[in-house]
Amino acid sequence: MSTGASMAPPMPTLLVIPTGIGCDQGGYAGDALPAARLLAAASGCLITHPNVMNGAALYWSDPRIQYVEGSALNRFATGALGLRPVRRQRLGLLLDGGMEPELRQRHLQVVDGCRATLGLEIGPVITTDTPLGVHLSQGASGASWGQLERPDALLRAGEQLLAQGATAIAVVARFPEDPESEALAAYRQGSGVDGLAGAEAVISHLLSSHLGIPCAHAPALSPLPLDPGLDPRAAGEELGYTFLPCVLVGLSRAPQLVPLEGASSAVLADPQLLAREQLGAVVAPAGALGGEAVLACAELGVPLITVANPCLLDVTAAALGLEAIAASSYAEAAGFVLALREGLSPAALRRPFPRLFAPGMV
């Protein structure tokens, strides 16, 4: 039986599904993971971010998927960073000093569970010297955003973890709660925006861009009362007491972030190094193309595959003047990725198929 020896070499592909904008697919608890797995199989190498991969208690580890936090993903796409796959990371855990003792204990038990059951290397653990003071907010578009009262405390704790040998950091911040809020009810029913996501992204962007190592965030919250009408896409967040397992698993093999400015020729010649010039495609929701990574790739000429994935925004290829290959689903997008990987023009797969020149023009 063939083992796929005739398959084309991997084609690094970037998958972006922005967080906190209510994407129908990818706007909940890691519910874009099936799409990511399919795109990883189609491309042989998928680079994507925690919002796509994190399902709280649920996760999937695939050596073809590179787990890269959003700000690092942007820096990769703009050419500031390369990515070097690693066998494992030594995970530091950064806990918000504002967490109640019981909630803190729950998170430490997740760490022990991941050490014992998954064999992850976790530690050191640092608690911030003052509560981080997370606030949630919403932009005019309805996208979720957030703030930190004490970003300095976050960075101090991160620097201590780095000094103690951590090569990647999982952050757990105490998030404000409003279990009666209409927005939370809508989210749990599958029709709302993840109100926590924007603040989570701000925290991980700040820490990762400051330290230059992989970082990702899990919010600390009290368990919610049972909701019999819970949407399946949000269910991953209600299986346990914390959102931490997926973050630890994702970070455990997150690629090393390699600054490219001033890098030696030996670093640049490393055959393991992934650089943006190797990207063969970028895949993003059709209405959410206004982020740094997608714009950088489009300006570089990386083929842009847009997917019909309704969200709050309507920032389309037409609105921005970008060329794009439109897919009606992630399954179709995976077909286009496979076509590009095989050297086929996606246009050849569509009908009607236009002439290159109108009759009489040659």
Binding site: P18, G70, S71, T78, S137, G139, A140, S141, A143, W145, Q147, L148, P151, D152, L155, A201, V202, H205, L206, S209, A288, G290, G291, E292, L295, A296, E299, L313, D314, V315, A319, L320
Partner: protein, 59 residues
């Protein structure tokens, strides 16, 4: 250091978008996270609506 939320409305200029947005944000601080969240028509051309959080270093 503090984090500032921001909303900008930029009249789109010719050329690549990325530099236009980055330069506009840099006037307010170090861009931490941003996105174009709407593109609106105006009598002078397209307006880019940008939502962002920037880092402002205390003097």
């Amino acid at each position: 250091m503090r984090l500032e939320p921001l909303e900008l409305r930029l009249l789109r200029q010719g050329g690549p978008l990325l530099d236009q947005v980055r330069q506009a944000l840099a006037a307010h601080g170090r861009p931490l996270r941003w996105a174009i969240t709407a593109v609106e028509p105006s009598s002078e051309g397209s307006v880019l609506v940008v939502e962002a959080v920037v880092v402002v270093e205390d003097a």
